[in-house]
C-alpha cells in the first residue's frame, strides 16, 4: 500500500514544532512512531498535507522520576517505558498496559506513549481500505450520516477508544501537558477524551500533547491492568480495564476503575468508590457487585464496532473488571506500607 503525497518537516526543537502546527492548522498531523497514523493515511482515512516529525525533539523523549511521580515525554518509546526500572518497581499497572500494546516489534521500538493516547478511535466498518468502504454508504466518522456499528443506525459515531494505556493512566489520576504556540495547559488525562466518535480528542489543531505526569506511588496503593483479546499480541482489546486501589489498615479508602475499548472514550465507572469504600480490600463479594455495575454501565455503550459479538464483550466487562480490581487490591495489601501498619 502506498502513502499519499505530503510535505515532511523535522523541527529541531519544540518551539519550532508548535510554530509549524500553528501555521499549518488542520492540514497537518504530528508524526511520532507512525504505527497508527501511517496506516490510516494508507487507508485514505486521513490525508494531511504536512507531517511534522518529532524525531529530532529529544526533550519529548525523556522519562524521569521526580518527587511528584513520573514524568513521561509524549514521544517516549513504549520499549523505553518497559525498560525503565522505576516503572517496573512502582507502577506495575502501567507496565502491564504498555506491554499489552501491539506486538514487540511494532510497539517496542517505534510506538510512543503519546501516540497510544492520541490514536484515533476504531471501528470494524471504518478502519478498512477504500475498496472495502466503497461497498457501503459513508458512515458518520467518514463524513457521512449513518452508523453501521449501532443496531438500527445512529446519527452519532459509535467507534471505540482503543488506547491500552489510557484506562490505567486515568485510574492513576495522570495529568497531561498540552502545548500550543502561545499556551500551555495541564489537565487530567480524562479531559483529553471528548467521547465524540467523530473527533475523539479535545486537542485543537494547533495543540500537541507533550508530557504525561503520573502521581508518585503512595503506601498501601495498588494498580493493575487487564486486557481481553484473542491473541496476546497485535490484537486490539475487546475489553480492557485499569484499576487503582488505595488501602489503609486493610480497608479500601479510594478506588478507581476505568474500562477501555468499549466506549467512545475511556469509561470511568462512577459507582465503584461508593460500593468499595471502607470495605476490606480485595473483598470478593464487593468486587463482584462493582463488576456487575461496570458491565451494566458499559452495556449502554458497546457497539458492534469489532468483529467479536457485542453480547460476549458486554459479559466480559464484568470478568475483566473483577480481575483488574482483585489484582490491584492484592498488590495494595502486599506492599510494605500495609504490612508495617498491620
Amino acid at each position: 500500500m502506498r502513502l499519499p503525497p505530503f510535505a515532511y518537516d523535522r523541527p529541531r526543537d519544540l518551539y519550532e514544532a508548535l510554530e509549524l502546527l500553528n501555521s499549518y492548522g488542520k492540514d497537518c498531523k504530528v508524526l511520532a512512531g507512525g504505527t497508527d497514523l501511517l496506516v490510516r493515511m494508507k487507508q485514505g482515512l486521513v490525508a494531511p498535507t504536512h507531517l511534522v516529525s518529532l524525531k529530532a525533539l529529544s526533550e519529548l523523549a525523556e522519562i524521569k522520576e521526580t518527587g511528584d511521580g513520573l514524568q513521561i515525554g509524549a514521544a517516549v518509546k513504549l520499549s523505553d517505558i518497559l525498560a525503565y526500572q522505576p516503572v517496573q518497581d512502582h507502577w506495575p499497572g502501567l507496565f502491564e498496559a504498555v506491554k499489552a500494546i501491539g506486538a514487540p516489534s511494532i510497539q517496542h521500538f517505534s510506538g510512543t506513549i503519546g501516540g497510544n493516547l492520541c490514536q484515533d478511535n476504531r471501528c470494524q466498518f471504518y478502519d478498512q481500505s477504500k475498496f472495502f468502504r466503497a461497498a457501503r454508504q459513508t458512515c458518520n466518522k467518514a463524513g457521512g450520516s449513518t452508523c453501521f456499528a449501532w443496531k438500527g443506525g445512529s446519527d452519532k459515531c459509535h467507534s471505540a477508544c482503543q488506547s491500552d494505556s489510557a484506562p490505567i493512566l486515568i485510574a492513576m489520576d495522570a495529568k497531561v501537558v498540552i502545548k500550543s504556540k502561545n499556551e500551555t495547559r495541564t489537565m487530567p488525562l480524562e479531559e483529553l477524551y471528548s467521547s465524540v466518535g467523530e473527533r475523539p480528542l479535545t486537542l485543537a489543531d494547533n495543540e500537541m500533547l507533550t508530557e504525561i505526569l503520573v502521581p508518585a506511588p503512595t503506601p498501601g496503593a495498588g494498580t493493575a491492568f487487564e486486557k481481553l483479546a484473542y491473541r496476546s499480541s497485535i490484537d486490539y482489546a475487546m475489553v480492557s480495564a485499569g484499576a487503582f486501589v488505595q488501602t489503609e489498615g486493610g480497608r479500601t479508602t479510594r478506588v478507581r476503575l476505568v474500562i477501555g475499548a468499549v466506549a467512545r472514550g475511556p469509561l470511568s465507572i462512577a459507582t465503584v468508590e461508593k460500593t468499595l469504600k471502607n470495605r476490606p480490600a480485595g473483598d470478593q463479594q464487593a468486587i463482584n457487585e462493582v463488576a456487575i455495575d461496570a458491565m451494566n454501565t458499559a452495556a449502554a455503550f458497546i457497539a458492534n464496532n469489532m468483529t467479536q459479538p457485542v453480547e460476549y464483550r458486554t459479559k466480559m466487562v464484568s470478568v475483566i473488571a473483577k480481575r483488574a480490581l482483585t489484582r490491584a487490591a492484592e498488590r495494595a495489601i502486599s506492599q510494605k506500607g500495609f504490612l508495617e501498619a498491620k
Binding site: 502513502l3 501511517l38 521500538f109 496476546s232
Partner: protein, 159 residues
Amino acid sequence: MNKQPLEISINGDCYSLAVEPNRTLLELLREDLDLTGAKEGCGEGVCGGCTVLMDGKPVRSCLTLALEASGTHITTVEGLAQKGELDPLQQSFIEHGAVQCGFCTSGMLMAAKGLALNNPHAGNKEIRNAISGHICRCTGYTKIIEAVEAVVDRSLEKR
C-alpha cells in the same frame, strides 16, 4: 512533492540519497536499492514480513518513512551473512526446517536477530514474545522457535 536528502547506512554501506517524503523505508529498500529480502505482506504493521533492524532493533519498514530512518544503521536479511557464510540463525533455520514457503522468513530472522543482539540468552518465552508480531501460515511456529532456541543454546555452550 520535493525530494529531501537522506543519509543512511544499509548493511554497512553508506548511501546519500534524495527521497520523496511519502516513500517508506520498505519501498526504498525494495524498489530503489533492489534489496528485496524484506517483504510487504499487509502493509499496515500486522504481519511482520517487512521487519528490518534499525540500530539493532526490529522495526516495521512498511510503517517507517525512509526520511525517519535518516542517520540510522539498517540491517536487512541480505546483511546477515558475512563473507559468504550464513549467520548462525540462517543456518539453524535451514537445519530445523523452519522455512516452508519462505515469505515470513526474512522477518522472522530479523526479529530473531534483534532478540539475539539484545538478549543473547533468551529463553523460550522471550523467543515467543519476540516473534509474536510475526505471522507464519505454514510452519505452525514450532520449527522456527526450535531453530532460534538452538542458536541461543549454542551460544551458551561456547561460554
